[in-house]
């Protein structure tokens, strides 16, 4: 799925990957992490039940020094 972006970079993972699985690949722990899919927040409670489809733009965010 080369037109799927995760944090701005093309993502080649298999279609149907859940958000929970994706986060596990990117983060050692889900604590302090939030996900947006196509500009909308995906609540933690729905990570397991949300599957990535082609063309999705995913943002995985956390705290960074700032402000």
């Amino acid at each position: 799925m080369s037109d799927t972006l995760v944090n701005g970079t093309p993502w080649e993972g298999p279609e149907g990957t859940t958000v929970a699985e994706l986060v596990a690949q990117w983060c050692p722990s889900p604590r302090g992490i939030a996900v947006a899919r196509n500009g909308e927040v995906v609540p933690k409670s729905r990570w397991q039940g949300t599957r990535i489809v082609a063309g999705d733009q995913i943002e995985i965010v956390t705290a960074a020094a700032g402000g």
């Binding site: 983060c27 302090g32 960074a64 020094a65 700032g66 402000g67």
Partner: protein, 315 residues
């Protein structure tokens, strides 16, 4: 004995009385009127935002930190109870956790919407922050200009209204315009956070008059946020009646951040005490602090030129 006054005393007295009597429920002392209340001697009430008390009036920004170790030291030396964090893409190469560090130091996380230029960007960022950090507190920043990082008042107020509607506790970073500050308060923000000068500029408080006006009118805490450069700036903010200050670059980018953090901690305490103590009025002329009574006879010297005026001209 009444010392001569210069006539301007009345107006400065009034202005200083207004500055001393902040609008945030902390009674100052009416200058010159001798109206010392028992509040002057009583212990200070803690900083309270949205019903939440804080043991420190120094909020810290984590931006600009050179290293996690230096940030840890600065946070500790500052004594801060709340620190801002930005919401950014996960960097898999980062091993340390900012949220864990703050938790360990018992510092409350205040996420911000730094980098947002529109209300919708800020609202999405705030929602992500709420999800990530399990807090509905948000420092709202909506910037209008890359170079100055000055807030876009129009987008800011729109974002504040939407976020308050969505149940957020909004602490907006705003310009030092009393009208914008009032709009934000009317929109339901839990505090107003006017800038002293542009973020990271270290220029201190450019418009003390406006800050005093905002303090006078606000019913929510006023937190001076942005532009503080050194200790005297933080002290001045508190003297003007701000309930707290938010400091990032002045600490994190100082040559010795830990030392500066400790200095700022003292400066905030000093300014707050000075505010509560009630300063003297500003006078155009001198007001002698030593009494006139009991002075020796200056004419006894004999060589004093002024004696001529007292010489006997009757001859």
């Amino acid at each position: 004995m009444d010392y001569p006054t210069d006539g301007t005393e009345g107006s400065t007295e009034l202005a200083d009385a207004r500055l001393a009597n902040g609008a945030n429920g902390v009674a100052g002392v009416a200058t010159g009127a001798g109206a010392l209340g028992t509040t002057a001697a009583a212990a200070d009430t803690p900083l309270t935002i949205a019903g939440q008390p804080f043991c420190s009036r120094l909020l810290m920004g984590t931006g600009g930190m050179v290293s996690p170790e230096s940030l840890r030291e600065a946070l500790q030396e500052s004594g801060t109870a709340m620190a801002t964090v930005a919401v950014r893409r996960v960097d898999p190469s980062t091993r340390h956790s900012l949220v864990e560090l703050l938790g360990e130091l018992n510092v409350r996380v205040l996420p911000n919407t730094a980098g947002c230029f529109t209300a919708s960007e800020a609202v999405l960022t705030a929602k992500l922050a709420r999800e990530a950090f399990e807090t509905d507190w948000i420092k709202l920043e909506v910037i209008g200009d890359d170079l100055t990082l000055l807030p876009d008042a129009v987008e800011l107020v729109a974002a504040a209204e939407e976020l308050v509607d969505e149940g957020f506790t909004v602490l907006p970073y705003c310009s030092d315009d009393p009208v914008v500050a009032r709009r934000l308060e009317q929109a339901g923000c839990a505090a107003v956070m006017p800038l002293g000068s542009p973020i990271g500029s270290g220029l201190g408080i450019r418009n003390t008059h406006n800050i005093a006006l905002i303090v006078e009118q606000a019913k929510v805490p006023v937190v001076l946020d942005a532009g503080i450069g050194t200790a005297s700036d933080a002290c001045l903010a508190m003297e003007l009646g701000c309930e707290a200050v938010l400091i990032a670059s002045a600490i994190t980018r100082a040559h010795r951040p830990g030392l500066m953090a400790g200095s700022m901690r003292q400066a905030v305490q000093a300014g707050r005490a000075a505010y509560r103590a009630g300063r003297i009025t500003r006078r155009f002329y001198a007001d002698a602090s030593s009494p006139f009574e009991g002075m020796i006879d200056r004419s006894a010297n004999g060589t004093d030129v002024a004696d001529d005026t007292q010489a006997d001209h009757s001859g």
